[in-house]
């Protein structure tokens, strides 16, 4: 008894399949990939041309992939770095005493408050980027019978925060929620521990780095929701006469929009909001952040241009390839290929070639990134400059996007010459007339 492979068919006894029939049996399963195979074989037929196409796409995709990963990593590093430098401007009620520090990280405890309607109006001002509203109060105790010492309690909106969470040194592995606290770097409560505030149990969700800004280092931060739940107890324990109701704010931290200057925004705020005071950070930091953001946008534009030029190159190359293969395409049409099938075959061929080039480019990009990691990033780390690499999942997603984009560019680059060819009469193509 002989072994038989799963795809093999049994012949009636006494009859042997001819070589042609045996081949037909084998091809039953392979035929569905016929057109993809046809495209691959066509690419393989012109090795030098395919190699050049693949190389060009690989270089471009590799540059785009490496550029995108580095750019995103630099952006992340910058976001963290600049967020840690604080906001560009702080708006507080007039009469608030302000302790000017190098970094605007939080408002100071005050008896005065702003209406929270100010947020919507501020957001509409030209030059205003992100806004970080805060409510702050200094309490004499935390209401749990421990030694009395003043503590700053700060309520903030975790979704809009620009100066607290970037400073997190450690945190629990879940989302920040109601009942969670973030404590300043000089506080001693351990991460994950319970902390009683006015008889209510809270969890230390995260701890900040030391920032050399008093309120920031010793404060207890919580969401507005948590803050509001404690409001009555807080106000009983505080000497402050400030109205800390849900519609009040102690201050608003502002990040300027790209291109805006602190002076412009200061004038606009003072003109539109009587009874407020503005404190601006050092303009150098703002300029550096804005400059680097613009630079990254410039790099992005360059990457887009690279992809567009690759698409044009593929288009020109496929025009030449199609001209060379007119007779073959005319023949295909003569034996029954519909116009869309001709377009499909050529687009598939281009997509396979450029996707392979894209994949190759990403592999080269990974090698390049490894060398960056071992040189530049290592050097930066030694200098104490953190470099926030993307996670492997994010890098893989960018690689996948590059490969998909490369194959789309290939297919779209071949589309116009393929479509023009498919509109021609088969006989013209067979005679290979121009």
């Amino acid at each position: 008894m002989s072994a038989r492979s799963p795809g093999e068919q049994e012949c009636p006894q006494g009859m042997e399949a001819s070589p042609a029939e045996q081949s037909a049996m084998r091809d039953k399963t392979g035929a569905r990939f016929f057109f993809a195979r046809m495209a691959i074989q066509n690419l393989g037929r012109r090795k030098a041309r395919t190699f050049l196409l693949l190389s060009a796409v690989a270089i471009c995709s590799g540059a785009v992939f490496t550029g995108a990963v580095l750019m995103q990593s630099i952006k992340n590093s910058m976001d963290i770095g600049f967020a840690r430098l604080g906001a560009d401007m702080l708006i507080v009620p007039e009469g608030t005493l302000t302790n000017i520090t190098a970094a605007l990280l939080t408002a100071e405890p005050t008896d005065f408050t702003l209406e929270d309607g100010v947020l919507d109006r501020l957001a509409k001002l030209k030059g205003v980027g992100r806004l970080g509203p805060q409510r702050i109060v200094r309490t004499e105790s935390l209401g749990s019978g421990e030694q009395r010492h003043p503590t700053d309690l700060i309520g903030f909106d975790p979704e809009r925060d620009i100066t607290i969470q970037p400073w997190l040194a450690e945190r629990l592995g879940r989302a920040f929620g109601k009942g969670d606290l973030i404590i300043g770097g000089r506080r001693e409560e351990p991460l994950g521990s319970e902390m009683m505030l006015f008889g209510v149990r809270h969890t230390v969700y995260g701890k900040l780095e030391k920032t050399a800004v008093g309120t920031h280092e010793r404060g207890v931060f919580m969401s507005f929701e948590t803050f509001d739940a404690l409001r009555e107890s807080i106000q009983r324990s505080s000497a402050s006469k400030a109205d800390l109701g849900p519609n009040r704010l102690s201050g608003v931290l502002i990040e300027l929009a790209p291109g805006a200057t602190a002076k412009q925004v200061q004038f606009a705020v003072l003109a539109n909001f009587p009874g407020v005071k503005t404190i601006a950070s050092e303009s150098t930091l703002t300029s550096i952040r804005q400059g680097l953001s613009a630079l990254l946008e410039g790099v992005l534009a360059l990457l887009v241009i690279m992809f567009v030029s690759t698409a044009s190159m593929v288009c020109v190359l496929f025009s030449a390839i199609i001209t060379e293969r007119r007779r073959e395409l005319g023949l295909l049409m003569a034996i029954g290929a519909r116009p869309w099938q001709v377009v499909g075959i050529l687009a598939t061929e281009a997509a396979i070639a450029t996707a392979s080039g894209g994949l190759l480019g990403c592999m080269l990009g990974v090698a390049l990134l490894r060398s960056y990691q071992h040189s530049l990033v290592y050097h930066l780390a030694n200098m104490g400059v953190p470099f926030a690499w993307l996670s492997w999942r994010e890098i893989l997603l960018i690689a996948l996007a590059c490969v998909i984009l490369a194959s789309l560019i290939g297919a779209s680059g071949a589309l116009i010459p393929a479509w023009r060819t498919s509109r021609r009469e088969p006989y013209d193509l067979i005679r290979a007339e121009g």
Binding site: P19, A20, I335, G336
Partner: protein
């Protein structure tokens, strides 16, 4: 089976309008073997291309199996060509990157993708019938010119067409192979009842046809 009424084709060139085919009227009953003979440039290939749905006439009507082919949209015409017509060209017309069996199965795969298995079975049968069973996995460059022409005949028959169009099918073959190919086509016409229209400039080969049409200066000559 095939009717041409006042079929003509003109081309615009730098030297002016060229009338390749002028007012051809033709009627070919089903199963007939017609040879069209004429000198180079007489318009015989242009006429074949119009009959075969490969080149649109500038005037006149072409009907195949009762259908006015040039009134069909491109996609339907492509499907009609594949279903009703088979072509054997005057040049090596196999796709070089495909195996022999793929080349033969291709017209069926282009038009009935859901029946790939049947297409390959039919291709294998035809190759066996044309004594090419040993070359199914070979590539076109691995077989002789005569064998390539036989493969083209197998490909032309894959969809069991009612009309077979052969445009100088033996033009680049030696005499012995030429006779062999014409024999094959003759037998297909006789055994399968396929209507056969063959363009040739070889009068001796044309003698085997049921009817010989002479073409000169784009028109049929009595």
């Amino acid at each position: 089976m095939l009717t041409c009424e006042g079929v003509g084709k003109s081309y615009s060139t730098e030297r002016g309008l060229v009338h390749a085919v002028v007012g051809v009227d033709l009627r070919v009953p089903a199963g007939q073997f017609v040879a069209i003979v004429g000198r180079s440039g007489s318009g015989k290939s242009s006429l074949m291309a119009m009959i075969g749905g490969l080149s649109r006439p500038t005037r006149g009507v072409v009907r195949v199996s009762g259908a006015e082919i040039w009134k069909m949209p491109d996609s339907r015409l492509a499907e009609f060509r594949s279903r009703e017509m088979g072509f054997v060209f005057q040049f090596p017309s196999l796709l070089p990157t495909l195996r022999i069996i793929d080349n033969v199965a291709l017209p069926a795969l282009l038009n009935s993708r859901k029946e790939e298995a049947a297409a390959y079975e039919k291709a294998a049968e035809l190759l066996t019938e044309l004594e090419l069973a040993d070359y199914v996995d070979a590539y076109p460059h691995e077989i002789s010119a005569g064998e390539q022409r036989r493969v083209a005949i197998a490909r032309a028959l894959i969809n069991s067409p009612s009309l077979l169009i052969a445009d100088e099918p033996t033009s680049d073959l030696d005499e012995q192979t030429e006779i062999e190919i014409i024999d094959r086509l003759y037998r297909l016409n006789r055994d399968r009842g396929v209507t056969l229209i063959m363009v040739t400039h070889n009068l001796a080969l044309a003698q085997r046809a049921d009817r010989i049409l002479h073409i000169a200066n784009g028109g049929l000559v009595a």
